[in-house]
């Protein structure tokens, strides 16, 4: 018996107007069972109004070893933030 139910990542929307947020993972044979299991596992106390399940193997991540390469250059671009610019006193700009 080598069959292993695939792994799914579960995302939960806590309320209308909010994003789905990753809450954990589970094993299930297909999407329908994955959604049902996600309901049983992650929403026993009215934690949400919508669930997404995604096969874990379909999630691709940025390389943690290249974190600096990916994200640090943003720190050198303070002009992308509104607070970079001086606002003359008394003006509602």
């Amino acid at each position: 018996m080598s069959y292993v139910e695939p792994l799914w990542e579960v995302f939960l929307r806590a309320d209308r107007g909010l994003s789905h947020v990753h809450v954990g993972s589970l094993h299930a044979p297909d999407p329908e069972v994955a959604v049902l299991s996600a309901r049983d596992l992650y929403t026993r106390r009215s934690e949400g109004v919508s669930l997404w399940v995604v096969r874990s193997e379909n999630i691709h991540t940025s390389d943690p070893g290249k974190r600096a390469q990916y994200f640090e250059s943003a720190a050198e671009k303070p002009y992308r933030h509104a607070r970079h610019y001086a606002v003359p006193e008394g003006l509602n700009l």
Partner: protein
Amino acid sequence: MTEQEQFDEVVRAGRTVESADWMPDGYRATLIRQIAQHAHSEIIGMQPEGAWLTRAPSLRRKAILIAKVQDEAGHGLYLYGAAETLGISRSEMLDLLHADKHRYAMSFDYGVPTWADVAALGWLGDGAAIVNQVPLSRCSYGPYARAMARVCKEESFHQRQGFEAMAALVAGTDAQRAMAQAAVDRWWWPALMLFGPPDDESPRTADSMRWGIKRNTNDELRRKFVDMTAPQAEHLGLTLPDPKLRRRDDGTYEFTTIDLEEFTNNLRGQGPYARQRRDYRRDAHANGAWVREAVAAFQARAQIEPEVA
């Protein structure tokens, strides 16, 4: 910076390590052992209470107990999921449990002969578990910390329902009060054992503290639990079975620590119900094999004959 230095810096700064990050082999192995032990404990922990589902004294108590046992299944699954992010599969962990190569909290290797034991297990056992688990929701490994935050949020109801069931018993007849006291006598020491060996007998504590997996030592947490619980027992009019228990002027308590010999025997799988718990778990797994085989067969067939829309 080397990978080791980066890791040390993240831990030192109190930030979290995530699954794709580099981590020392010892850190990974310690986490796998601890999270799997924790997951197994939730799953084995369903047995002593599950046995009382059909005998709960009222419909309300039954509904509460079902919800609690269901939570424990859920907690086991959250934790297996967290451990899987470290590169071990759930089926491997279960195989190791069934082969007696993984441990679970041996406090569950004690019996629950009366309904009062169910109440005591909730009040004292889950009470101890919460004290143990709250600091883990701030541990350095992100997936474990997040799973524990979820577990802790759900767990406080477990302790309170136990306390409430105890309160109902002590407000009852003399026989019910005696039953409550006998259950406390049985469960006090197993609850204290949930915190693990005393600090000077716990060789792994130093590494775990350095790595931010543990935030407090076993004895610190055990003391905290005693300080919280002794006044609760007093409120219920129940006596904790420790002749040395005494309130100090600062509100903390003097108490006797666990019997190391009993603890060590339990660790060796010699607890009174150890055989029963393990056999039951192995049987449950074996008896569920046909379901796993049916799922596999159904999936295999779906690959050959795609469903016509």
